[in-house]
């Protein structure tokens, strides 16, 4: 079945540098620096990336940071909690817009 997302395409990510090699190089360097141990550990960063992957709903990123979190020593329980954080923020973000609905409701109601 044809689909917009193909798992093997993740390995072709580097192809995006074909017509803009300098930009790709800069992205790679920056990306590498972002995920290096700093004020946050590599494991914490991998778990953040896993949560964000769910928030932005990127299947490539979900696969990559499921493996990545495990390879940084995260446990399935920690990974599941990270996904709940993403889900809670997405759910909360919808719900908090309800205030706007309430404001407008007040505005137009007698």
């Amino acid at each position: 079945m044809d689909t917009y997302y193909h798992p093997p395409d993740l390995a072709k990510f580097g192809d995006i540098g074909k017509d803009a090699p300098e930009l790709w190089k800069k992205f790679q360097e920056w990306y590498g620096a972002v995920f290096a141990e700093g004020a946050l550990t590599e494991r914490e960063k991998a778990l953040i990336a896993l949560a964000v992957s769910h928030a932005v709903q990127c299947p490539y990123c979900i696969d990559a940071y499921t493996s990545g979190s495990l390879e940084k020593g995260a446990t399935p329980a920690q990974m599941t909690e990270a996904v709940h954080v993403a889900a809670a923020i997405r759910g909360g973000a919808s719900l908090v817009h309800g205030v706007q609905m309430r404001n407008h409701l007040e505005q137009i109601s007698m």
């Binding site: 550990t41 494991r43 495990l70 390879e71 940084k72 020593g73 995260a74 446990t75 329980a77």
Partner: protein, 350 residues
Amino acid sequence: MALPTLLNSRSPLAAPAAQREILAALPLARSFEDAVAAAQTAPLTAAGVDVLQVNLGKRCNQACHHCHVDAGPDRREVMPDAIVDACLGVLARSGIQTLDITGGAPEMHPRFRDLVIKARRLGRRVIDRCNLTIATLPNYSDLPRFLAAHQVEVVASLPSYAASMTDRQRGDGVFEQSIAALREFNTFGYGVDGSGLVLNLVTNPVGAFLPASQAALERDWKRELQRQHGLVFNQLFTITNMPISRYLEWLEHSGNLAAYMGKLVQAFNPATVPGVMCRATLSVGWDGRLFDCDFNQMLDLPLAAAAPQSIVDLTNDAALQRVAARRIVTGPHCFGCTAGAGSSCGGATV
């Protein structure tokens, strides 16, 4: 309950040749030999023999999902007395300082204790690769006491401090029994500061991914085993799963084989090459045949033809020297020892 071994379930992968065929057919980005050639000018050769790793056989009280030996309760291969004696003879005649005893569950071998006692009398460092649960069986309950009395180093398997993960890899109930065994080892001083009794743990990833940082995991393991169970140990070794035997079967069955091998190749780290364990280890099979490592042993890849082929052939200095300078036999599985931070029987290598 123990799983059936590949041999007992009549899997085609029970044959080492079938495993080698599958690995050889994988379209890898480059061969291991090419990767080594890019990292250093010379092919891999041994740099002496520091460790005699003796595999006493395939009998085991467990049958773990990832076992590269295809060991289990239904296996009958055990080292004959004459080969045990030949191993002791080589230790006595050579400068090899460490005897590393593995299996299967090596403690099930009738000569295990005799081998330990005699090797210790020769002044050799002795390591027992222990699955832990063996020490909870009635016939082996005095194992920690025996090993402590002879100052044997224990390297014990515990893939995770989470019960569900350990049981998933090693079988239902294994975690609980392992914790009970560790408590017993601690009681005899194993892993306790100042006791001189070394208890190291081994973790293999529970799946198709590479191990995390050994130092980071060791901190987690120490904190959690202490917090949850009041247990102590010395070091944690991270070991990469090798695409051999039951782990190979699982990779193939679960559709992870190509991606996992691709990962190992992509993660090739040239800095690991000088310290691969085969350069300092000589592996002895249950039948006395010699190999560069336990993994080559399971793939039935014997020492290079120019070297002696059996422990009984190591009767003089010249034979020992030929072994100590042998060319290492390699294959696609060797990427398992050079990926990321490297992997060996003593954990990460860089």
